[in-house]
């Protein structure tokens, strides 16, 4: 593994009982690279992400990456009994924890809310704190499992802009699981399609015009494109 890569996955296998969900999957993500992962529901995206996060065991293959990647889940998972700054620095043992939290909260547009309780936040704000919590660790690899799925369309667009900025500044490798083809096109450098337990296709967003990419991806996912009709 070179210093440039965030994670290398080789020949990964994962099964639940008899059912093989991930079957010989290979994947490399560079630092600063934003990778989106699309795939039909139940194809194993979350399973892959949890394996990379070290939350679940694997049944074969290698994961060559950081032991402690940062994870953002679909729900914010903030501790309701801890202030925002304590939430952000959870598990970060430095004397300047408070300062770091202030900076991180500032980056996600929540400066001055350090002492607030999570319950006083809107869904979008809470998810921004979860982002701050991930970034304050300066992770080499950041794993996001549909982090914006529960947000309204407008907030989601704002989050796309924000997360692109943050990734450009901190340069972690990013794996974003999403259901939203347009979201993937809007924020990712590379889009992967998962099928049959492996990576079935890979597209660089810089190479293809968004409408064509959108149509291709929808076809990959088995959805009839409606762009011509529209």
């Amino acid at each position: 593994m070179t210093t440039d890569t965030a994670v290398i996955v080789r020949n990964l296998r994962r099964r639940y009982g008899e059912r093989v969900v991930i079957d010989g999957l290979d994947l490399t993500i560079r630092k600063g690279e934003f990778v989106a992962l699309l795939g039909e529901s139940g194809c194993g995206k979350t399973t892959l992400l949890r394996a990379l996060a070290g939350l679940d065991p694997v049944n074969g293959g290698q994961i060559d990456g950081p032991k402690q990647p940062a994870v953002v889940f679909q729900e914010h998972r903030l501790l309701p009994w801890a202030s925002l700054w304590e939430n952000v620095t959870l598990g970060v043992d430095t004397a300047q924890g408070r300062k770091q939290a202030e900076a991180a909260l500032g980056e996600v547009g929540l400066a001055g809310r350090e002492e607030d309780w999570p319950r006083n936040l809107s869904g979008g704000q809470a998810q921004r704190v979860a982002l701050a919590r991930a970034l304050v660790r300066e992770p080499q690899l950041m794993l996001l499992d549909e982090p914006f799925a529960a947000l309204d369309a407008l907030t989601r667009i704002k989050m796309h802009v924000l997360i692109r900025e943050l990734v450009a500044r901190h340069r972690p490798g990013v794996l974003l699981v999403t259901h939203d083809v347009d979201e993937a096109i809007a924020i990712a450098d590379r889009i992967l399609v998962m099928r049959n337990g492996g990576i079935a296709a890979s597209y660089l967003t810089a190479d293809i015009a968004p409408p064509a990419l959108r149509e291709t991806l929808l076809q990959e996912l088995g959805v009839e494109s409606d762009s011509r009709a529209a």
Partner: protein
């Protein structure tokens, strides 16, 4: 234009009439809630003075107040109150600590659960007051027996609610602990205990109520000090005013204990939407 304006002016009072007015303010309702108790107290006083109630049966409120004053001045009241509260506090701390420790152990470890929980549940099935004769045989009539009873009464509610609280901690937050690399100790301190706290405090509140019940019974058995002694001693001489006073003091202790539990909940669960006052920290 003018006509319309006039019309609107004419409409105004009618509109205002439709605004529902609160039936009574909060303060008025508070006042009302005290009306009945005060009325009963007055009726009691009048009936006593008129000789309708014999003082040996039920003394007048004023004579109870007099007795309270007399015992306060002589210092007896505080001596006995102090003795009772000390017993309750020692018993509570001992029983609470054991209950909490067992609860944490069983909450965390399936092995501990398998080896301890059944026995604890069996002992719990005994109404602790049924142990009274045995407690007297074991400890005699001195302090330790009373403390033992209080501790026993406190142990179970704390134990059960601690186990429950720990088991109910959101597994998603435990997963978070893993991805943020929290150590075992920090996971317990920052996630499991705060998550279990609402349940633990429910146990504390319940335990305060049972502790106080245990105290009353234990002190009635045989003592040379405490509120219970005050009452039992007075019984010998048919001093109903002292007996009523002792009962009132128990009531006040009960209310204070509940107030203490509520205070703890407000302090420790400030983050919790159910306990928080409006607004931020």
């Amino acid at each position: 234009m003018t006509i319309e304006l006039l019309n609107r002016e004419a409409l105004k009072p009618t509109v205002q009439e439709h605004i529902p007015r609160p039936a009574a303010t909060e303060a008025q309702l508070q006042l009302l809630s005290w009306a009945a108790p005060v009325a009963i107290l007055l009726a009691w006083e009048v009936a006593s003075r008129a000789g309708l109630i014999a003082p040996q049966v039920l003394p007048a409120p004023s004579s109870v107040a007099e007795t309270a004053w007399r015992l306060t001045v002589s210092g007896d009241l505080f001596k006995h109150l102090g003795a009772s509260l000390l017993r309750a506090a020692i018993g509570f701390v001992i029983g609470g600590a054991i209950g909490f420790a067992l609860g944490v152990l069983v909450g965390f470890s399936r092995v501990a659960e398998a080896s301890l929980d059944r026995s604890i549940q069996m002992i719990r099935a005994i109404p602790f007051l049924a142990l009274l004769p045995l407690v007297i045989v074991w400890f005699g009539v001195d302090e330790s027996g009373k403390i033992f009873l209080v501790a026993l009464a406190v142990l179970f509610p704390i134990y059960i609610n601690t186990v429950l609280g720990i088991r109910q901690v959101d597994p998603k937050l435990l997963e978070l602990a893993r991805v943020t690399g929290l150590s075992r100790m920090k996971t317990i301190r920052k996630i499991i205990l705060p998550g279990a706290m609402p349940s633990i405090l429910t146990g504390v509140r319940y335990a305060l109520a049972t502790a106080w019940l245990a105290l009353v019974v234990a002190e009635t058995v045989a003592t040379t000090s405490g509120i219970g002694f005050l009452a039992m001693d007075a019984r010998e001489f048919l001093q109903t005013d002292v007996i009523v006073l002792a009962i009132l003091i128990y009531a006040v202790i009960g209310i204070s204990a509940d107030g203490l539990a509520r205070f703890l909940e407000r302090k420790l669960l400030a983050w919790h939407p159910n306990y928080a006052k409006e607004g931020r920290k």
